[in-house]
Subunit: 117 residues, 2 copies
DNA sequence: GTATTACATCGACAGAAGTGATTGTTATTG
DNA sequence: CAATAACAATCACTTCTGTCGATGTAATAC
């Protein structure tokens, strides 16, 4: 697939002169990139992505035991995935009696979403 | 942080009767989730995220040797990250003489971006 | 009290991933 | 031709990640 922008070819440097100085720089700084990459990494698993999909449209409606049969994984593994989502700041939970209700933290996905758009 | 929706608490099941049937389901199916998770995973590294940030605003302008000094990693490691982005279908490259020009594939991020929004 | 249920934590394991030194490949220069 | 430059590929190493079985904990039911 060709690209639609003009290439700006370089000429070979004279011997001894090292490669090009950078001419462009990232717009997102390092700290921002680390934050967004952490969120992206947490979403980088199909099960976690579907979990977030369920949770953000049914906050407070589903307990963990209802989530387990949605995926072909064991309960400890699901618990682990929820932990990873929590560590990334994407979800949090509330306990009511025997049941735990997870929900997506509002605006947790906003920075990444804005950058992607 | 409390949630703003009403919880729908369950009552304990009678002995022997196993846990709740799922009442809600993901809206994104498995195949879709695998695709998007693959993209998210590739973005789940600060360097790769900044790489995409540079490339999508300067397609065809930067050769790899200009990218190396932007990050504190070796050239083979940068090459490895570019390979991962390519494997995820996010970027592709074109060779011109000694130089390789990477660019972000149009719409490669669209599905994930749309789901996040 | 005991039994049971929902969920978390721990331990272990295989496979994936990030890193760099070294080597290989291709193209340009002289 | 030889020398050099840009980039990719290989190898080795360490750390991280997904998975499950077993165990632990807290709450409810009897």
């Amino acid at each position: 697939m060709p690209i639609d922008r003009e290439l700006t070819p370089k000429t070979k440097r004279p011997p001894g002169e090292r490669c090009c100085e950078p001419v462009v720089y990232p717009e997102v700084d390092r700290v921002q990139a680390i934050r967004m990459a952490e969120v992206a990494k947490a979403l980088g698993d199909p099960i976690r992505l579907q979990l977030v999909d369920v949770l953000r449209r049914h906050a407070g409606e589903v307990c963990v035991c209802e989530l387990v049969p949605l995926f072909e994984i064991s309960q400890p593994t699901l618990s682990h995935h929820l932990n990873r989502l929590r560590a990334a700041g994407i979800v949090d939970s509330e306990r009511r009696g025997l049941w735990a209700y997870y929900y997506v933290i509002p605006d947790a996905l906003r920075e990444l979403s804005a950058w992607l758009a």
